[in-house]
């Protein structure tokens, strides 16, 4: 009997379910997570299974329920807070930066904040400029936070458990275009780390660094390039903070070229940080200028064709790599 086909959404749900079953201190809290089943239907059915004490619908006030989650974590609970999209999380930025990320430091280590915040990120579903941005790079700027970006089914399923074990606040960014992704959950995998980047495709000619929703575009682009004789290595960051610099640098030292694919805007972005680290640590290894494929620096358009034009695409990745490796073509 072959393993069943599952979706990324189902993997997220099974991760939460397993956490709820494993530890009575764990509870899920957020807008529409209970009766509605989650705006991306991740928590559908959990209210029935675990009851309203552990699956809690909150008022539409990100600052209030994130703050409540921080308090619960300090008090010994293991809250999973869901924020509907990263754009809305800005209302809770004060809680996340000034409290969650800071209290362990300001208390001299007396208070841990073992909080997990999950949120949806990214564009591609015509949700326009207030629901479609990729702001995880901003959070990756903040010391005291751990930032995860699960792209594969295994990471969606298993990253939550180590995140809950972490004594510090962990933010998990789930790209909205991944929820419907289907596949077979590798039965050999029963846990994952939340420290290392992963090489999703080995290659010798160029390193493509990416994460989250851009991973599969990048892998598809790598397949296109392979047909032209270009072997791209694809690094999935998985952890946006702290960056697994060693894996990135080791790959770039092998291939000597790097293109960073990041759905965030490029000015002051995570891609800028990665490029700079490569410049600092591997300058003499480089055989070509660093390049980036990022979202176009505009508020995300509503119109479908404009939205697609604004997002990193397989074609733009291929063209960027081609220009590095085969400038004549």
């Amino acid at each position: 009997m072959s393993a069943p086909i599952v979706t990324y959404r189902e993997c997220c749900k099974q991760g939460i379910r397993a956490a709820l079953l494993a530890d009575p201190r764990v509870f899920l809290m957020g807008e529409d997570v209970g009766r509605y089943g989650g705006c991306y239907a991740v928590s559908k059915g959990l209210l029935e299974e675990f009851g309203p004490e552990r699956i809690r619908d909150t008022p539409l006030s990100e600052s209030a329920f994130v703050g409540a989650g921080i308090g619960a974590a300090i008090a010994g609970m293991r809250p999973i807070v869901e924020i509907m999209t990263v754009n809305f999380s800005l209302l809770a930025l004060d809680q996340i930066l000034n409290n969650a990320a800071t209290i362990p430091h300001m208390s001299g280590g007396q208070f841990a904040v073992p909080l997990v915040i999950r949120m949806a990120t990214g564009g591609g579903r015509q949700l326009a400029a207030q629901h479609s941005h990729s702001l995880e790079g901003w959070y990756a700027h903040i010391p005291g936070l751990k930032i995860l970006a699960p792209a594969t089914l295994e990471d969606a399923r298993y990253m939550l458990a180590p995140a809950l074990l972490d004594p510090n606040p962990v933010l998990i960014f789930e790209h909205i275009m991944l929820y419907n992704m289907e596949g077979v959950l590798d039965p050999a995998v029963t846990s994952v780390d939340i420290e290392k980047a992963a090489i999703r495709r080995p290659g010798r000619d160029v390193t493509l660094v990416t994460y989250g929703g851009s991973l599969f575009k990048t892998l598809e682009a790598a397949e296109d390039l392979a047909r032209e004789g270009v072997e791209a290595e694809v690094v999935d960051l998985r952890v946006l903070r702290p960056l697994d610099q060693e894996t990135i640098l080791a790959s770039v030292r092998r291939t000597r070229r790097c293109v960073i694919v990041d759905e965030g805007w490029r000015s002051g972005s995570l891609s800028a940080e990665i490029g700079m680290r490569i410049g600092e640590e591997a300058f003499y290894e480089l055989d070509a200028p660093l390049r980036r494929v990022c979202a176009v620096e505009v508020p995300m358009p509503y119109a479908g064709h404009l939205e697609q034009a604004a997002l990193p695409s397989r074609e733009r990745i291929v063209a960027t790599v081609r220009a590095l490796l085969r400038p004549g073509s």
Binding site: F283, L286, D287, A288, P289, L324, P327
Partner: protein, 420 residues
């Protein structure tokens, strides 16, 4: 505003060291004026400016070693207002008049300049080389100006350096004979001048690089003919009888002039192979291979040999040999040759198969003039002075039929010495 740049004095030159400035800011300079002395592998070279104007600023201090094409000075064209102190280097031609020294064909094929950037972008000076390629070139000892860049914007990549190194290594086990071995010392007193000497080790490296490249890249073909010299030598004897010893002509001038006139008839052999095509030389500027004490060799050019009367040509040749030995060659002499001649002189071997100096497309060799049995026009046998004239030519640029025409034309001119 012109930028006076470190010139490339041959395909094998990567960098030069400024020895001294012969001008200072505010000086007026003329086209062809020697403005600086630059130390290269070929010794100290007097570098000429190719623009009229006023020296605005010297950008290099003596002792500084910089890559070819690095700006050395800013020169304000006549009539132009003084510029701001810091202007970015202008984009490369299409405005050659603004460039003090234009890229020379001698350096072009391997250090092919990157395609011109969009008009708004100022081009940084020097080659584009990736950091990794620069380090690899250092490890392998590959001079970057002989590496063809295939990366973005024509930048040199690690693969380019490694393939250049592989090419060089393939040639290494059997270094081709260089014309150096063939050029006899000319009886000229050597005048050692400390500053203007050359480093034989460095020069050997330069010769090795140029000759390896020649044999690596140029598919040579060789032709040779025996040319009767009794008419030419009789003409020379008659001419010299009326001249004081210092002004007497040597057979070399006849060979030079005959070759120059023959090249007028076969211009396809006078020029360069650049970027996959033949580019005719701008004149008939003949390089003359000169052996140096200490084992070096240079082949500086005499310009417009076809237009020089024999006495002037003789004076030019004496001057050139003297300056080559003492280290006073000019940049244009090192870079401009459109075809090179090696002549073995009276104590040399009877024939020579030359190695073309890239990117030239041909080289002409003359063996020693020797007396041999000769069947003359009437069918009679006589002892005659003869010379073996040989041609090495680039088969990419020409075929043997054309090469034969050049040798025949040289022969023809040497049989009519009074027209030389």
């Amino acid at each position: 505003m012109g930028l006076f740049r470190m010139p490339s004095l041959g395909a094998d030159m990567e960098a030069g060291t400024l020895v001294e400035w012969l001008v200072k800011p505010g000086d007026k300079v003329k086209r062809g004026q020697v403005v600086a002395v630059v130390e290269t592998q070929k010794g100290a070279i007097e570098v000429e400016c190719f623009e009229e104007g006023t020296v605005e600023e010297l950008l290099l201090a003596p002792g500084q070693k910089v890559p070819v094409e690095t700006p050395m000075a800013r020169i304000r064209a006549a009539g132009e207002a003084p510029g701001p102190a810091a202007v970015p280097p202008p984009p490369p031609p299409p405005t050659p008049a603004a460039e003090c020294i234009e890229p020379r064909p001698a350096a072009a094929p391997s250090a092919a300049p990157p395609p011109p950037p969009p008009p708004s972008a100022a081009r940084p000076a020097g080659l584009k080389v990736s950091p990794a390629a620069r380090r690899r070139a250092l490890e392998l000892g590959v001079p970057l100006d002989r590496v063809h860049g295939t990366g973005p914007d024509g930048a040199i990549t690690v693969a380019d350096v490694e393939s250049a190194a592989r090419g060089a290594a393939a040639e290494a086990p059997s270094p081709p004979p260089t014309p150096a071995a063939a050029v006899p010392p000319v009886a000229e007193p050597s005048t050692p001048v400390a500053r203007r000497g050359f480093d034989p080790v460095e020069m050997r490296k330069a010769i090795a690089a140029a000759m390896s490249r020649s044999k690596r890249e140029i598919p040579h073909y060789y032709l040779a003919s025996t040319v009767a010299m009794h008419r030419a030598l009789a003409f020379l004897e008659a001419t010299n009888r009326e001249r004081p010893p210092p002004e007497r002509l040597l057979p070399a001038v006849l060979l030079l002039k005959a070759t120059a006139l023959a090249l007028r008839e076969v211009p396809q052999l006078n020029g360069f192979w650049i970027d996959g095509g033949f580019r005719p030389g701008p004149g008939i500027h003949l390089g003359w291979a000169i052996a140096l004490r200490g084992g070096g060799l240079v082949a500086p050019a005499i310009h417009d040999v076809d237009k020089l009367a024999l006495p002037k040509l003789m004076a030019a040749l004496r001057d050139l040999v003297g300056r080559a030995r003492s280290g006073g060659l000019k940049s244009s002499e090192l870079a401009d040759a459109t075809l090179t001649i090696t002549s073995l002189g009276e104590r040399g071997a009877e024939s020579v198969l030359p190695v073309i100096y890239p990117p030239q497309v041909a080289m002409v060799g003359f063996g020693a003039i020797v007396t041999r049995p000769w069947v003359d026009e009437a069918g009679g046998l006589a002892a005659r002075p003869v010379v073996q004239v040989s041609l090495a030519a680039d088969h990419r640029a020409s075929d043997g039929h054309l090469g034969s025409r050049l040798l025949a034309a040289i022969d023809d001119h040497l049989q009519r010495p009074e027209t030389l």
